[in-house]
């Protein structure tokens, strides 16, 4: 359970917060207003946001308790609620080899971890026995191309790149052409980070997709938004805008090995039905793991996950 231990370590602070909040309730005969407030605070501190927090609080309030409320009992009801919200968004990133190439387009705001995720994805698909190609369509940021090329060397993956400042759409087009010619299984296209309120940059993204479709009408097969695990409620605005301009098919959450809680996932799961494919939990090529709702929740609220044994 490498993944779980790392995630648990990573999420420890949030779990400590939730747990300490909940521990204060231990032994109480019934849940009173102040204990409800403690849970509320704990959920807010995990970045769940107000609507999700209030919904969960409502559910806990209306839960029928048999006998005195114990810490474990409260925690398991909380975990139940969270798991029920997150389980539907479990969903691996599946590659259809028949596509040749199966095109994965990575999008997101600046600094969310797209390039690193592209490198990790390349390593993952290769481990799965697929041939992989990377395309450096972030032609804007200084040395983004070199960064992806670095991942290419690390993971022994060919990288298609052009000049800095070049046309990202043209590069994506060219990459698909090459991948088709070389019968590559998966093509991962890294794009420049863009803030979702910059309309001209979002239009540029739409253009990249239009151009991709010219070469391969059913591509991109996966358009995945890469979200920073430390992000707050702005994640909702990000997903919404990228969904509108790029038609998202899934999400990857990065940097969950730190103190960030990634609780905004709960809010995202309630609002969008986008699957969470993978989570980033470190800096090496292997630090990308499948998202499992139950494990995530266990790490979030503390206690023992059922599948640890």
């Amino acid at each position: 359970m490498k993944w779980l231990s790392r995630l648990t370590a990573g999420l420890k602070s949030s779990s400590t917060k939730l747990t300490s909040g909940i521990s204060a309730l231990f032994g109480k005969e019934k849940i009173d207003a102040s204990s409800i407030e403690d849970i509320e605070d704990a959920l807010i501190s995990a970045d769940l946001g107000m609507p999700a927090t209030l919904a969960i609080i409502d559910a806990i309030k209306s839960h029928r308790w048999d006998g005195p409320v114990s810490e474990d009992g409260l925690r398991s009801v909380l975990a139940e609620q969270l798991t029920a919200i997150l389980t539907p968004v479990e969903g691996p990133l599946n590659v259809n080899r028949a596509h040749q190439p199966h095109v994965v387009l990575l999008v997101g705001v600046n600094g969310s971890g797209k390039t690193t995720t592209a490198g990790k994805l390349a390593a993952k698909f290769q481990r799965d026995g697929q041939s992989v190609m990377l395309a450096a369509a972030d032609t804007f940021r200084a040395a983004a191309i070199e960064q992806l090329a670095g991942w290419g060397v690390r993971t022994d993956t060919p990288v298609i790149s052009g000049a800095r400042g070049g046309d990202a759409a043209a590069l994506a087009f060219q990459a698909i052409e090459q991948a088709q010619r070389q019968k590559i299984d998966v093509l991962i296209i890294d794009t420049a980070g863009r803030l979702q309120n910059r309309l001209e940059l979002m239009d540029e993204l739409s253009k990249i997709i239009r151009v991709i479709k010219k070469q391969m009408p059913d591509a991109p097969h996966d358009t995945v938004i890469v979200l920073d695990g430390t992000v707050g409620q702005n994640a909702l605005a990000q997903v919404k805008a990228f969904e509108a301009h790029a038609g998202l098919t899934g999400m990857i959450i990065t940097k969950l090995d730190g103190t960030a809680k990634g609780g905004v996932l709960v809010a995202l799961a309630r609002e969008f039905s986008l699957p969470v494919h993978l989570i980033g939990v470190g800096e090496t090529a292997e630090d990308l793991d499948v998202f499992r709702a139950q494990e995530f929740v266990s790490a979030l609220v503390g206690g023992t996950p059922q599948d640890q044994a």
């Binding site: 690193t116 040395a143 103190t259």
Partner: protein
């Protein structure tokens, strides 16, 4: 959010009647709403708690001012409180020391350290005439050093030559030596992004600090950060003693509550903010504006400043004279379009206005965006010089030619002509009515006055905003006169020109 906070506060106070002071109950109810607003803006919970305590003390018993509604009064209290916590006046960087002054950049992965290092070098070189060296101590992320080198080349700063097989500490030592031998004024040390729980890397950072004895330790943080801001800021502060914060991606639409969390936890002011992808997009931090933003009151001050920067005084004077003479042709129309674009385009402008959430949707639904302005520009540029001065010449066949030349349709051309005519009509009215005295008032005093009023809580009513949004969302093109004639733009876009001379920092 501001609208909803305002609405919520209004309903809280609807029963207040004519009592003389805010009771504890009134305040509690209002503060619950304020708390919610702050949490929605991603201010960290412990910080919200402390803050609410302060506000509560100030609010209870505060006399209800006759001229101000209690909801406005609470908003002002909160706004002032936020401004205070965010650090009063921004402190400048401490770099006027025996050279080289050392600036250490630290933060999480992807917070924007390297880009900020490049921006900071440019800023110190151009504004303070410092000789700056950049050195990357990031041996973790692939191509991090190449990125800093590329940025250094772009801004023409000194760059520490790379060499292999050096530890981070050895690199830092060499950077320090190189900077003092080559007589650099400032040495900016970029470091690898690290998690606050990574003991080894945090230890390394402390070691770098001990070795280089930096004059500034800048924590670079993403303004999109959520509740984690408080944990991260505290950990970095405890480990290396942060002296200032740089908040990046403030050009995004996050409310940026992280700013409040981090200044509160570290006791450091936010020294600089990143406001765009270009290397000159690093600005001084303004606590009052940030307070407005966290409360979603819109960044009206930024709007005025942008206008001041974009519109050159001379151009504004020229325009004023032409207006006074009742002259306004397509060339003037074009120059206004371009000024608007320079100010960050419609998207940029609207983002700075209060209550913009709903409007933005309507605007994008109506397909109004900056590409529209480019098309308008193309249409005007496809007119002959003569046509631009004598718009009356534009008959059907000329319009057809212009449409073909600009890659648009005749309808588009007609629309631009119509807009021009509306605007010219307004200009004429103003020119004849105002005379030079009236015009002067419009140009010089009009805008700042309006803006000042807004910031003190005298915001345009929801009805005004709705009208404005209707105007913008209803038509298929942004009507410039429409934008200009409604608050908060005050005296129309030409009026913005006056700000250039008056309010430039």
């Amino acid at each position: 959010m501001f609208d909803s906070l305002k609405d919520r506060l209004q309903s809280v106070f609807s029963g207040l009647g004519k009592r003389g002071a805010l009771s504890e109950g009134d305040v509690d109810a209002a503060l619950r709403e304020v708390r919610l607003a702050l949490l929605e803006a991603d201010v960290a919970l412990p910080v919200v708690r402390q803050f609410m305590e302060r506000i509560r003390e100030k609010a209870v018993g505060a006399a209800v001012l006759k001229a101000v509604r209690p909801d406005q009064q609470v908003i002002k209290l909160v706004h002032d409180g936020l401004t205070e916590v965010l650090g009063g006046d921004a402190e400048p960087l401490r770099i006027d020391v025996t050279p080289p002054a050392v600036i250490l950049m630290a933060g999480l992965q992807g917070s924007g350290k390297t880009t900020t290092a490049g921006k900071l070098a440019l800023r110190l070189q151009t504004r303070q005439k410092k000789k700056v060296m950049l050195a990357s101590l990031d041996l973790v992320r692939p191509a991090a050093r190449e990125q800093l080198r590329a940025l250094g080349e772009q801004v023409d700063a000194g760059i520490l030559p790379e060499s292999d097989n050096e530890t981070v500490v050895q690199l830092a030592k060499r950077a320090l030596q190189a900077a003092s031998l080559q007589a650099y004024d400032v040495l900016i040390l970029d470091t690898a992004g690290r998690l606050s729980i990574d003991d080894a890397l945090m230890g390394e950072l402390a070691e770098i600090k001990a070795l280089t004895n930096p004059d500034e330790v800048l924590l670079v943080a993403d303004s999109l950060t959520g509740q984690d801001a408080v944990t991260t800021a505290k950990a970095f502060h405890d480990a290396v003693g942060v002296t200032g914060i740089v908040l990046t991606r403030l050009d995004g639409d996050a409310r940026g509550g992280a700013a409040l969390s981090m200044s509160q936890v570290t006791g450091c002011s936010i020294k600089l903010v990143g406001t765009g992808e270009k290397l000159d997009a690093l600005e001084e931090f303004d606590p009052e504006r940030m307070a407005g933003r966290i409360l979603d009151m819109g960044d009206v001050v930024a709007l005025v400043e942008k206008a001041a920067e974009a519109i050159e005084e001379e151009e504004a004077m020229r325009m004023a004279q032409r207006m006074a003479a009742g002259k306004f042709d397509m060339n003037d129309f074009l120059s206004q379009l371009r000024q608007l674009q320079k100010m960050g385009g419609l998207g940029g402008l609207l983002g700075m206005l209060p209550g913009i959430g709903k409007m933005k949707k309507q605007i994008s639904a109506a397909g109004i965006d900056d590409s529209m302005m480019k098309r308008q520009e193309a249409i005007i540029l496809s007119m002959s010089k003569k046509e631009r001065v004598q718009v009356g010449l534009l008959n059907a066949s000329r319009r057809k030619r212009i449409a073909a030349g600009s890659g648009t349709t005749v309808q588009d051309v007609n629309r631009v002509v119509k807009q021009y005519q509306d605007m010219a009509k307004m200009m004429k009215k103003m020119g004849s009515k105002a005379g030079s005295a009236g015009l002067k008032a419009l140009m010089g005093g009009g805008m700042p006055g309006n803006m000042g009023g807004m910031m003190s809580g005298n915001a345009p009513s929801a009805a005004d905003m709705a009208k404005l949004s209707q105007k913008m969302g209803g038509g298929s093109m942004p009507s410039l006169p429409g934008l200009g004639s409604k608050p908060p733009f005050g005296g129309g876009l030409p009026g913005l020109g006056g700000v250039g001379g008056k309010k430039k920092k």
